[in-house]
């Protein structure tokens, strides 16, 4: 049981690094892109709202596996260049997760009662003052717990990167590599599952701590 881990130490290290790279890089991309799309969805420009809605509804109704399929097989053809598979994986995960980030931001903003902003405007605050000292602080607190859930889902979704691009070494693809080396699939996969259980429980715990600290009393 332990042999599967200790005999292939470097491979496990690379796989964990690969998973964490996918997680952090696509997480950063998803947060940035999700912020832009979320802003579009709550903007006063009807066309921007429509574009944001179309993006969210299309991508959210597409299986992540299909998004990877498009990025691995179709995007290199369209760009006419060979692209690093890790980069394609990050783009696919980031673009997929961005829709969830956008929805979370939007619903976070929707939890702030309209009266808050109206009161702020009534006492004469400017737009930027209304945003920075009244609306966004309240929205940010409401957003943090569900945003952690999005990140937990993203962590689990990094394994999907292994479906079409097993060259991307991560915890989803390590089984095929190790079974070529004659390791027992059961041992390998149980270690992978254990890794995810530990990380997910850690993130959930962090989420609860943050939630308790930042709860908005309404």
């Amino acid at each position: 049981m332990l042999g599967a881990l200790t005999d292939n130490w470097e491979l496990w290290r690379d796989a964990v690094l690969g998973t964490l790279t996918l997680f952090f890089a696509s997480g950063a991309l998803a947060l940035v892109l999700g912020f832009v799309v979320g802003a579009m969805r709550v903007s006063p420009v009807p066309i921007a709202r429509a574009v944001g809605t179309a993006y969210v509804n299309t991508i959210r109704n597409t299986p992540l596996t299909l998004v990877f399929f498009v990025f691995v097989f179709a995007v290199p053809v369209i760009l006419g260049a060979r692209i690093d598979l890790m980069l394609l994986g990050i783009l696919a995960l980031g673009i997929y997760t961005a829709t969830y980030v956008a929805e979370t931001l939007r619903s976070g903003i929707n939890t702030v009662p309209v009266g808050q902003a109206e009161a702020a405007r009534a006492v004469g605050l400017t737009f930027s003052q209304v945003m920075t000292s009244v609306v966004l602080p309240q929205a940010a607190r409401a957003v943090v717990p569900p945003m952690m859930s999005v990140l937990i889902a993203l962590l689990k979704n990094t394994t999907v990167a292994a479906t079409f691009a097993s060259a991307v070494i991560n915890l989803g693809s390590i089984r095929s590599t190790l079974s070529e080396r004659g390791e027992n699939s059961l041992d390998v996969l149980l270690w992978v599952a254990l890794f995810f259980i530990v990380l997910v429980l850690l993130l959930s715990w962090l989420q609860q701590v943050l939630e308790r600290r930042w709860k908005v009393a309404r």
């Binding site: 579009m40 903007s43 006063p44 009807p46 921007a48 109704n61 597409t62 299986p63 596996t65 299909l66 399929f69 498009v70 097989f73 179709a74 053809v77 006419g80 979370t104 939007r106 619903s107 903003i109 929707n110 939890t111 702030v112 009662p113 309209v114 902003a117 945003m131 609306v135 717990p145 569900p146 952690m148 859930s149 999005v150 937990i152 889902a153 689990k156 979704n157 394994t159 999907v160 292994a162 479906t163 079409f164 915890l171 989803g172 089984r175 079974s179 699939s185 059961l186 390998v188 996969l189 149980l190 599952a193 259980i197 997910v200 429980l201 993130l203 959930s204 989420q207 609860q208 939630e211």
Partner: protein, 308 residues
């Protein structure tokens, strides 16, 4: 629509002009991206007849329909199984007996934490080491039932816990047993309140059938890949991506649309319980998807009652 947005005031003439400019800029940028993709597809010859010839053959469509049926059958079995498992886990986790409650909680948390893909690989590649050989269909459906069942169990539990204590207490007061209170009073209200979230989770199950590709289950994406790499058909990988992708998106949008219809009906319906409505008022504009994300990640909203 957004006349009373919390973010901005009702626009005046200046803001309206600025919004119009931004609208034009958005159109130009989006149109430019689309145009560039289409031009590149043309340049790389994706719209040539030879690439699309495959979709003129009856045999190819029979394969695609076969893939579609495989996707749908895995989805139907997984959806029914997940709902059954969800009720079992939810009721067990709300039990008064520690010996039932604790194992149910552990199982639910474990099944939720393991990625579906890893679970599928475990079922398909690792179980033969223990002497159990599953077909790809069984591996796909069991993995989907386990994951979605545990998520749905939490959805149902959150629904029950969002009900006011008076509901259950009134049930006991008129002499119902525990099972009667759960079956006749708590569960019907919880399911009603959570129906949109439940359907949204079924959309997730439908999307995740595409993971079956890793255990060689011959669903739509598997067919798309095989078609796309067929040399005799001029390797139509992009045409088959477009066709299969359209089928997937259509299926999921259809199911999501059902969730929206149900959500509208419930919020309008006269009989939707007063308590759940007041809870809903707290979460104005919160879509079923966001609630779902929250529950999938391990965090529950609206669970006002203290854990039993």
């Amino acid at each position: 629509m957004s006349q009373t947005s919390v973010l901005y005031d009702v626009p005046g003439p200046k803001a309206r002009a600025r919004n119009a400019t931004l609208g034009v800029v958005t159109i130009v940028v989006v149109a430019a991206i689309f145009a560039w993709v289409v031009v590149r597809l043309f340049q790389t010859g994706q719209f040539e007849a030879s690439k699309w010839e495959a979709f003129g053959y009856q045999g190819i469509w029979e394969q695609i329909i076969g893939g579609l049926l495989n996707t749908l059958s895995a989805f139907v079995v997984a959806a029914i199984g997940a709902l059954v498992l969800a009720f079992v886990l939810a009721i067990a986790r709300m039990s008064n007996h520690r010996a039932i409650r604790v194992p149910a909680a552990i199982v639910t948390e474990l099944l939720r934490a393991v990625p579906v893909l890893v679970f599928m690989l475990l079922l398909y590649y690792a179980l033969p080491d223990l002497g159990v050989r599953l077909t790809p269909f069984q591996a796909v459906t069991i993995a989907l039932i386990a994951y979605n069942g545990s998520v749905l169990a939490e959805v149902i539990r959150a629904g029950v816990e969002s009900l006011p204590n008076g509901q259950g207490e009134a049930g006991y007061a008129i002499g119902l047993r525990k099972s009667g209170v759960m079956r006749l009073i708590l569960l019907p209200q919880a399911i009603r309140a959570m129906l949109p979230v439940i359907i949204a989770q079924l959309v997730v199950a439908l999307k995740d059938t595409a993971l079956g590709v890793v255990v060689t289950y011959e669903e739509l994406l598997f067919i798309a890949r095989r078609l796309g790499s067929a040399a005799t058909l001029d390797r139509p990988i992009i045409p088959s991506t477009i066709v299969i992708g359209a089928i997937y998106i259509a299926l999921c949008i259809l199911l999501s649309w059902l969730a929206i219809v149900v959500e509208r009906r419930l919020s309008r319906g006269p009989k939707s319980g007063g308590s759940t409505r007041s809870k809903k008022a707290n979460a104005v504009g919160e879509t079923s998807t966001t609630k779902l994300i929250a529950i999938q990640g391990g965090h529950q909203q609206g669970s006002g009652a203290p854990p039993v």
